[in-house]
Subunit: 404 residues, 2 copies
């Protein structure tokens, strides 16, 4: 019997069954962490900046020495030093004195403001004229203005972006804990399949799922390993899945999951572990299987590449996010549907679209394909879902497109 779940039920089951199967942790230098998921909270240990710095090129002054000055009546200060970049300013500004300071230079003791160089004139005789008054604190970043110790900067679960890596570098954090990429076995099954680089004879078709699913899984932040094509023989599939369960964190098997004479995937899962569901109330993607062998998820995907694509992009992605303790970062845009799309089969229906912008309005053109084969998805910008209790969408309806 098929135990058919709705997409929502399947997502909930993925969370409840696999929330504990978190990926292991590894320590990496931050320069290798782009796109990796942080496995620790990052708490500052230092002040950023660590010293009072000038934000402009100019003169470090005591602000009160500039009060009342103007273009026509500059304050005359004694030049008593020069701050050099990267060198500790180990002198003090006394009353009536100033020191040249470059952008980013350390504010010397005694100074409490910086006057921009545009408002000053150095007379060359050790005197500097200041033509604009400044308030205390002007043009200075104080120690710890940006970050103080104990401030939480980043939280576990964050998929690291370049600016996060910059922040870690600024904080003096050279290595961080990230989750290991889950290793995903990608197995195709089917007597009719040949490697995608071979030329098919009549009756044969190229294995589209292996290269596609590997790329898709890699794009989720996991590491796909192509495990070849298994003939439609239960014993062969049993051996392949058993061996994959020893070596990988997640096993994807595509093909062989419709309820026909060759449906070996569910039987193999039942022999090795537990079948969690068999069948999803979605189109395409109905013949989808989820099982558990030990603590490892084993997913039977439809053999049809377009169906395998949708199921992987929705459910395998969610599963990998669960294993990485991170959130789904799908991006949605609203668009007006260019053509009606019917859907009256009691299953959630997923349809790929191309987007186009006209008069700053976004339109979605559904990609129609009798066969639902993968070549119809080439060049898609995203897809949308028509819920199972809807009979379709009319032309002009506002839809929510999941961007690809």
């Amino acid at each position: 019997m098929l135990n058919v779940l709705t997409p929502e039920e399947a997502l909930n089951l993925i969370h409840s069954e696999f929330e504990g199967s978190t990926s292991q942790i590894q320590v990496l230098p931050i320069s290798s962490c782009l796109g990796r998921v942080l496995a620790q909270n990052i708490v500052a240990q230092e002040y950023v900046p660590d010293f009072n710095r000038s934000t402009v090129d100019g003169y470090a002054v005591k602000a009160r020495d500039t009060f009342g000055c103007s273009d026509s009546l500059p304050a005359m200060l004694t030049l008593s030093g020069e701050v050099k970049m990267g060198i500790h300013a180990d002198f003090e500004i006394k009353d009536g004195c100033c020191a040249y300071i470059p952008t980013g230079g350390e504010l010397p003791q005694g100074a409490d403001a910086v006057v921009m160089i545009e408002y000053t004139e150095s007379y060359g005789d050790g005197t500097v004229g200041i033509a604009k008054s400044v308030a205390p604190g002007a043009n200075i970043i104080f120690r710890g203005d940006d970050v103080s110790p104990d401030k939480e900067i980043l939280s576990a679960g964050r998929k690291l972006r370049a600016e996060d890596i910059g922040a870690l570098a600024a904080l003096g954090i050279a290595e961080v804990k990230v989750y290991k990429k889950p290793r995903v076995a990608v197995i195709s099954t089917g007597d009719e399949l040949i490697h995608h680089t071979e030329k098919p004879s009549l009756g044969q078709i190229r294995d589209v799922n292996t290269p596609m699913l590997c790329a898709l899984v890699d794009s989720f932040g996991a590491e796909a390993v192509p495990c070849g094509i298994i003939r439609d023989e239960e014993a062969l599939l049993f051996d392949a899945v058993k061996s994959a369960c020893d070596k990988f964190d997640l096993i994807l098997i595509s093909g062989g999951s419709s309820v026909g004479t060759k449906d070996a995937t569910s039987r193999v899962i039942e022999k090795l572990g537990t079948l969690l569901f068999h069948g999803l109330a979605m189109k395409p993607g109905k013949p989808t299987i989820l099982g558990k062998v030990g603590n490892k998820p084993v997913i039977g995907l439809p053999g049809h590449p377009a169906a395998a694509f949708f199921v992987t992009d929705i459910f395998v992605k969610e599963l990998i996010n669960v294993m990485l303790s991170t959130e789904n970062e799908n991006v949605f845009v609203n668009a007006k549907l260019c053509e009606a799309v019917s859907a009256n089969h009691g299953r959630a229906q997923y349809t790929a679209v191309k987007l186009k912008k006209e008069n700053s309005e976004l339109y979605a053109l559904p990609i129609r394909s009798k066969s639902g084969l993968i070549s119809s998805l080439a060049g898609a910008d995203g897809y949308f879902c028509i819920s199972r209790d809807s009979e379709g969408c009319a032309k002009g309806d506002e839809i929510k497109v999941i961007l690809r």
Copy 2:
């Protein structure tokens, strides 16, 4: 003199100056092409599928033999064969006959429809009862339904996604032409800088820009190469830039671009080539330089990491897209601003935000930072721009957030 451009003018200049500097082309196996930019149009050479296929498990029939049948009065057909997956169906269905066919199997000659197995009964004596009539074409994908020769499947400039790789595999295209990743030299300048893994003494700061900009440039689909920290000496910078121009496609120099005593970047560019602009009417990011040495872009970025981040994410990204002949794929979302943000300095102002969803409404919380240092950008979800002729945004204003 500063030749200051608006952001729009700078983007236009990038296009007009560098549209010809397209990256070289390489041929790669499709399994290595995720995220790479296609350098050719892909036109189908084959039919997909290449033969008429069943979309269900069932019996291949002549449709007219099923007309008028029902549950109570099944059509009785002679079982005259079985289609095997992956093997050419080299027999013909004659009148009154049928053959078992699995999902994906090749439709035998003579058959024009498939009846799903659920509506059939095999009596075990060579006879099959058909309980539901089918129209010609039912449950069949015909040869070429998905793709016919000469159909354009993907266009040059497409950043390849997993489903595109699937489509290429389906079409028997094992290798494609893609643009080589532009190789980008990332140089930091400044006497105050130390490598980000070292411990700064007073007056020194860690080089945040090298690890951040390398990650950012990699995320654009280019290949960043960290080239170290150059002391503030024009001769050293000259040598470094000259040597980088021989080896790399694009040179990024951060720091040293404010108009102060140490402003060597613009002088080096003028010695080696042409200065295109010096100064952007944006905040942060004003001290930005664009030059051209030979045909190669040389960009002087602000030393402040947050400023370097915005300039790189906006202008260097655009430049790399131009070199890859592809379009910017920035994604925008609309959000309601949680707090007022002022801006009255005549420059386009970029402010990072965190997004939060409440009652299905998206809110943007501006990240405030006196110093604009990079640690304030950690954990940001995106940023928005206040145009130079605006005095700011009020609380509750709808803003367009560029997602990170």
